[in-house]
């Protein structure tokens, strides 16, 4: 039987911080990588590095900035490895985007999540179906087009419009007036 010991206290603290920031970090990677299948690989590798480098993290400093920089590095590494890197954003653009985001705005995923539950009812049935296929079933627009009998461009436009409707609704919900 394999015996392992409990990780040291500071590693446990790092793990707890990672778990706390995980949804936003996953969203961060998702925005840069786009391919759902690759996102989990990058997040997984980020976690391994965070854990391995736990000793180098200074408690009390900005964990998010630290973890984000590791994730950014992993994204760039993944793009370098990827045969299809020509389909992704260039490293310069990713650096520019990350520099803009490093200021550290709140992702507010929890509040958005709550509002989305309500706002989904505002979508037309077909638009809701397209959104569900995209986010529940993780289908890409070409597959959605095939399943719904639409053209790919029609799916792209429908998804974009649905997101705009949802964004307005979520903003209304999250504003003091909506609350």
């Amino acid at each position: 039987m394999m015996m392992t010991s409990e990780p040291p206290a500071h590693v446990r603290d790092i793990q707890a911080l990672y778990v706390q920031h995980l949804p936003a970090l996953r969203g961060f990677v998702l925005s840069l990588v786009s391919d759902f299948a690759l996102v989990d690989d990058v997040v997984q590798e980020t976690f391994l590095t965070v854990r391995q480098k736990a000793d180098s993290f200074q408690p009390g400093t900005n964990f998010r900035a630290w973890a984000w920089s590791i994730a950014r590095f992993k994204v760039l590494q993944m793009l370098e490895r990827s045969r299809k890197r020509s389909d992704r954003l260039s490293p310069e653009v990713i650096e520019a985007l990350c520099a803009h985001e490093s200021a550290g705005s709140d992702w507010g995923l929890e509040q958005q999540f709550e509002a989305l539950n309500h706002c989904m009812e505002h979508l037309a049935p077909k638009a809701r179906q397209a959104v569900a296929l995209r986010y529940e079933q993780a289908q890409r627009p070409p597959e959605i087009a095939r399943l719904m009998g639409w053209t790919v461009e029609a799916v792209n436009v429908a998804l974009s419009r649905a997101r705009n409707v949802l964004r307005k609704c979520v903003d209304d919900q999250m504003s003091p007036k909506g609350a």
């Binding site: 392992t4 997984q44 045969r83 389909d87 995923l109």
Partner: protein, 411 residues
């Protein structure tokens, strides 16, 4: 750039369907405009929230299905939790705190066993998603029931150097095991895709596979000692022949295939390749998700080496590529780069022509021809010309002035 158009392009990026032209447009906007970058992150946050929402919905549906299918499961789960709680309580009556920690860890280890590494592709509720990395890193390894204590532990002093070294070594081995589990999971997934691809091959390939299966069944080795162990009767190790120090003559005519996983039948000259396949042929370069290759048969077959298959003596007779996006790069008749994109491609080694199907598009320089009907296909001729057949096409030819204007704007 108009806001609505920019939003559409960012959404297409998030959906992984941005074309190369659109990507250039987005990248220009993101590099030059801070407002565009701010807008990108706003949309990215909504995308992340929607993904979270979708996974939660998926998780709820799975949960409902599980409840409907296995109502007794919840009673069993409740009984297990109650038993564990009772055990924890009884153990807490004793004086050994490390026993409690060990028990709690064993419970976590049981939970980890329920969700192996492969489960990271599955949808889950937000709570499950939050817990996921911890669960994945210790996939199926049992946690210890008690930590060996150093003599100084109870006094609140740091453990001995030996205990620290042991903990460090265990932590490292844990990370190595986790990494190995990830590699194994990826390899399994790749093998699964290879088997799926092999089940979809052309009739000719199916025959080869059947023959291959039959011969491998016929020649199952009997359980005999291997002659390759040091005391065996096999051949003695010999010096390798010297490598000639001359330049390879036929490097330019070599075909190279790179892939994540592959199957190669060297006897029949037939291969199936999956995962980021890249075919470098002297006349063109092709990338796809799946590739079937049929070589011109020869007398002395040469086994493949690793994932990168090199064969300098044999020529490709036919090749079939499939995938979400099959890309072909070659030169046009006038020497300009010619790019063909579709979902299926068929290469005929006899003529050197490539047939591109699945809403194909061909770009030569700045001029683009694309299919506007499902049945349209392009034939990329060996001489660099191409023709469309089977349906209507739309061709955009950029005029000289427009090109000059574009260049001016770019400057």
């Amino acid at each position: 750039m108009e806001t609505g158009h920019f939003h559409l392009l960012i959404h297409k990026h998030l959906d992984d369907v941005l074309s190369s032209v659109e990507r250039a447009e987005v990248e220009h906007a993101l590099l030059t405009s801070p407002q565009a970058r701010g807008e990108f992150w706003r949309m990215a946050k909504q995308h992340a929230a929607l993904k979270l929402w979708g996974e939660c919905q998926q998780g709820s549906q799975l949960q409902q299905r599980t409840r409907a299918a296995h109502p007794a499961f919840w009673w069993a789960a409740f009984a297990v939790v109650a038993a564990v709680a009772l055990l924890v309580f009884l153990r807490s009556m004793g004086s050994d705190p490390s026993a409690d920690r060990g028990l709690a860890k064993s419970v976590r280890a049981e939970e980890a066993n329920v969700a192996p590494v492969e489960s990271r592709k599955q949808r889950s509720s937000p709570a499950t998603a939050i817990d996921r990395p911890v669960v994945e890193i210790v996939p199926t390894v049992k946690q210890p029931t008690a930590v060996p204590k150093s003599p100084t532990d109870d006094k609140g002093v740091d453990p001995t150097p030996r205990a620290r070294d042991t903990a460090l070594a265990e932590r490292e081995s844990e990370a190595v095991r986790a990494a190995a589990a990830i590699v194994q999971a990826r390899d399994d997934a790749s093998q699964k895709r290879l088997l799926e691809a092999m089940s979809r091959v052309q009739p000719e390939g199916r025959e080869f596979l059947a023959l291959n299966q039959k011969s491998s069944n016929d020649s199952l080795p009997a359980a005999a000692p291997s002659p390759l162990f040091s005391g065996g009767s096999g051949p003695k190790p010999q010096l390798l022949p010297t490598t000639p120090m001359t330049r390879e003559q036929n490097a330019a005519s070599r075909t190279e295939i790179r892939s994540g996983s592959s199957f190669f039948d060297s006897k029949n000259g037939f291969g199936v390749f999956v995962d980021d396949v890249e075919l470098n042929h002297p006349a063109f370069k092709l990338t796809a998700d799946e590739l079937e290759v049929y070589m011109v048969s020869q007398q002395t077959p040469k086994p493949p080496i690793g994932a990168a298959q090199r064969d300098s003596d044999r020529k490709v007779k036919k090749a079939f590529a499939k995938g979400r996006k099959v890309v072909i790069l070659k030169s046009s008749a006038d020497g300009r780069p010619q790019t063909g994109i579709g979902r299926e491609a068929e290469y005929d080694g006899a003529t050197g022509d490539i047939i591109l199907r699945g809403w194909p598009r061909v770009q030569v320089g700045d001029d683009i021809s694309e299919a506007v009907e499902a049945g349209t296909y392009f034939v990329l001729k060996a001489d660099g010309n191409y023709k469309a057949q089977g349906g209507r096409v739309r061709t955009n030819i950029v005029q000289g002035q427009e090109k000059a204007g574009g260049a001016k704007l770019a400057r």
